[in-house]
Subunit: 203 residues, 3 copies
């Protein structure tokens, strides 16, 4: 279990870095200055987890440590000093997919650990993975990930739903976490590589 | 008083359902998938009450129960399986007006019960009724209800203001709740049926 | 120190009034009614401090007093009854600059007083000064201050960074507060008067 906790911590920081980089890239696309890079990196990196912690009544996870925000600022600097074209290809999309699966899983697990009911815990997983990107898109004035046809929220919902469902069924923690994160990553990966999407509403 | 509580609970769930349906309709207008329907239904259904609870320091009302979010998801499914044209007429507008009056009244009463000062309690009533719809419109990239000329926030303000004012004057609870909710509903109804609006600012 | 507290309180209310007025002006530009004026004044006046208090786990500063919201409503009425052209010149920009410096300083100091770690405390100062205006711009559908090339967030970051840095170095409180607020105001003033900006990102 200690190993599980360590793995989750590493995934947590990795997801903050990846989401932070996507925030800095949104600033790069619009040719902003370095302070705005940092602002977008921080909002995107910690936005989802912040909303989760406020809703479940937990202390906000980045308020009593310097590390999380320093990771966001480092991600912003990295995007600033390298060409954004390094990141414009599929590599970042795949990192983001890994962050999505890890964060949805982690968010749902943290909510359950705080005594949240199953359906809200499932929603917390989705919010943890998606809210940072949604806030980034609203602030940048771009159409949000909610508005794009390919699977994004759905992949987060799969990971979060599996975590909550398997935990309710009494499955072992490490197995549940692993399965949920991999399933979310895989579904998002299929959306990236094959344009997989759900049927849209028809009148 | 128990009867009052029961009435308020029914109104609360009904308002969540109606606001949730308006969120799903925003997703329908843009031809989204079922997951996005659910996301918009949840954000719109619980958004206003969530903001109120965070601000007054109450546990967020939908976090320790499954029922509220299930109602939102059911509203999303209902919009999905029926034609959205069923909802496009005036019927939903009138339900929404009832939800507006009930939610503004309920929000202000909950804030007073938590020891919030009168002016902020009045604002909590307005936020409870309006914030879900505002978040929905921002996420959907539509002009928000704040931007439309007809009375919406004003109707919520009337209900919330009456609840706080009559409570301060010592009026009986059931009478106050009834009067406030009906006044808000009526004013919103006049805006729907007769296009009633306040004078706009002129330079 | 009592004098410092009194000064901070005056600055706090002054900043709420000034930010509230900028919110009402956003409503005036779009020719809204008086209720929407009040809504925008309140959201802009208290938005940044509200976010800060939620994040650091403090009671939201305007919830247990009537004064703060009454100031916002008074600012909205003042903009309504006077011509908005009175405010359209540079005067309001300069008041806003003073509010920016004061609020960034105050926000960072409050966060440190609540035991927040230095890097997050720095971010709280920036958020306190900037978030109200960002929310105002998102709700009004205008390009946010984040998107404008001139220094705004950077001036808040200077004030907040100086407050946190000098406090960590053990400098006396009154000196630290004064220096930080004046530095933020001055930098924002240079942005207003000379169009000072940071270099933008280049591909």
């Amino acid at each position: 279990m200690d190993r599980l906790t360590a793995t989750l911590t590493v995934l947590d920081y990795a997801a903050v870095a990846v989401f932070g980089a996507t925030g800095a890239l949104a600033a790069a696309r619009r040719k902003h200055d370095i302070v705005t890079f940092g602002f977008f990196a921080a909002v995107t990196g910690v936005g989802g987890g912040t909303l989760r912690d406020l809703l479940i009544g937990a202390p906000v996870f980045w308020v009593h440590t310097n590390a999380t925000l320093i990771i966001c600022i480092a991600a912003a600097l990295l995007v600033w000093i390298t060409s954004r074209h390094w990141f414009a290809g599929k590599a970042l999309l795949w990192f983001d997919a890994a962050g999505l699966g890890a964060y949805a899983t982690y968010g749902a697990a943290k909510a359950l650990a705080f005594g949240v009911a199953p359906v809200p815990a499932f929603v917390m997983g989705v919010l943890t993975a998606c809210a940072g990107g949604i806030i980034r898109d609203v602030l940048a004035g771009e159409p949000s990930i909610l508005m794009r046809p390919e699977l994004y929220v759905t992949a987060a919902a799969l990971a979060s739903g599996l975590l909550v469902g398997l935990t309710l069924l009494g499955a072992p923690g490490a197995l549940t976490v692993g399965l949920a994160a991999i399933a979310g990553f895989t579904l998002r990966g299929l959306a990236i590589s094959r344009g997989l999407s759900l049927p849209a509403y028809k009148d």
